[in-house]
């Protein structure tokens, strides 16, 4: 792609990402907010694709589509204003938040333009994904191991949190109750 087009596409993606990010907190419906967030992620992935990270860009696109489609189910579950029947403000402390966010942006933007960022003349790899795979299976393998452990811990934690009544509720903390303490009689073994 020629540089002018890359420039145009980048600024379109950047404007789209920030605009749809703002829309997330402006719309009334939480389901719409989720799809606005998806749009923001897709525009963000566009900028990642522009720096030749094809694999990671596509990964973000696919993952975010799936994640947001799951998320919208939960959003409908916990919707604060279902079908527009309960109009209410979803915000608290709006002025303070706006001031803190604006201040953070000012500080970060000042840093972006004041810091002398390093540049590299090193040649870019032909296939960035190849060097990523080599790193994850070699020098950066610890990262991958920790990520795997964290994901496994997530599976366990989410199941524990989502369980309504587990065996410790039924058989006591030491699992020494003869008969389970259930609110309703019946079931297996009783």
């Amino acid at each position: 792609m020629c540089p002018v087009w890359r420039e145009i596409v980048f600024w379109l993606c950047a404007a789209g990402a920030v605009a749809s990010g703002i829309v997330v907190f402006r719309v009334d419906s939480m389901a719409r907010a989720t799809f606005a967030l998806l749009a923001s992620f897709l525009f963000g992935a566009g900028t990642i694709l522009l720096v030749e990270l094809t694999y990671l860009g596509i990964l973000v696109v696919l993952m975010m589509i799936m994640e947001m489609v799951i998320m919208v189910v939960f959003m409908v579950m916990y919707m604060m204003n279902p079908a527009g029947l309960m109009p209410m403000s979803m915000l608290h402390n709006q002025k303070g938040s706006l001031a803190i966010a604006g201040g953070t942006f000012a500080v970060l933007a000042a840093g972006v333009y004041l810091v002398d960022w390093p540049t590299s003349r090193a040649p870019r790899p032909e296939q960035p994904v190849y060097s990523l795979g080599e790193a994850l299976m070699g020098s950066k393998m610890l990262v991958m191991i920790v990520l795997g452990l964290a994901l496994f811990a997530t599976i366990v934690a989410t199941v524990v949190l989502a369980t309504h009544r587990g065996r410790y509720d039924r058989y006591g903390d030491r699992l020494d109750r003869d008969r389970p303490d259930d609110p309703v009689r019946g079931g297996v073994g009783r």
């Binding site: 420039e7 950047a14 990402a17 920030v18 990010g21 997330v24 907190f25 939480m30 907010a33 989720t34 967030l37 992620f41 963000g44 900028t47 990642i48 990270l53 990671l56 973000v60 993952m63 994640e67 998320m71 939960f74 959003m75 916990y78 604060m80 979803m90 915000l91 608290h92 402390n93 938040s97 706006l98 803190i100 966010a101 953070t104 942006f105 970060l108 933007a109 972006v112 333009y113 960022w117 540049t119 590299s120 090193a122 040649p123 870019r124 790899p125 960035p128 060097s131 990523l132 790193a135 994850l136 950066k140 990520l147 964290a150 994901l151 997530t154 934690a157 989410t158 949190l161 309504h164």
Partner: protein, 101 residues
């Protein structure tokens, strides 16, 4: 298209996400703010890889890390929300402020 442009975009995304995380009442909407902030990390680290150190894979590894963090945050966030909602019928932060100092 320079490192500065990318970092400016990341700063803007981060600030919008911060505003959302601070201002929303619903616990699930706070998670949307957090996700936007992690999106900023994605954009920033991809730009750092491309402009500052393309010969080393570190920037790409950070992107992988951030994507995973996002998935974990969403899964655990919804599990916590469900547990809180089930225990006390609460889905807003102001109603779960027991630990307020």
């Amino acid at each position: 298209m320079s490192l500065q442009d990318y970092l400016l975009l990341a700063a803007a995304l981060f600030s919008v996400g911060l505003f959302g995380a601070l201002s929303q009442q619903s616990i699930v909407m706070i998670m949307m703010g957090l996700e936007l902030m992690i999106n900023a990390v994605l954009v920033g680290s991809a730009a750092f890889w491309y402009f500052a150190a393309p010969d080393r894979p570190d920037g790409q590894v950070v992107v992988v890390l951030a994507v995973t963090a996002m998935a974990i945050e969403m899964a655990v966030g919804f599990a916590v929300t469900t547990a809180v909602f089930r225990a006390r019928d609460v889905d807003m932060t102001d109603m779960a402020a027991d630990l307020r100092g």
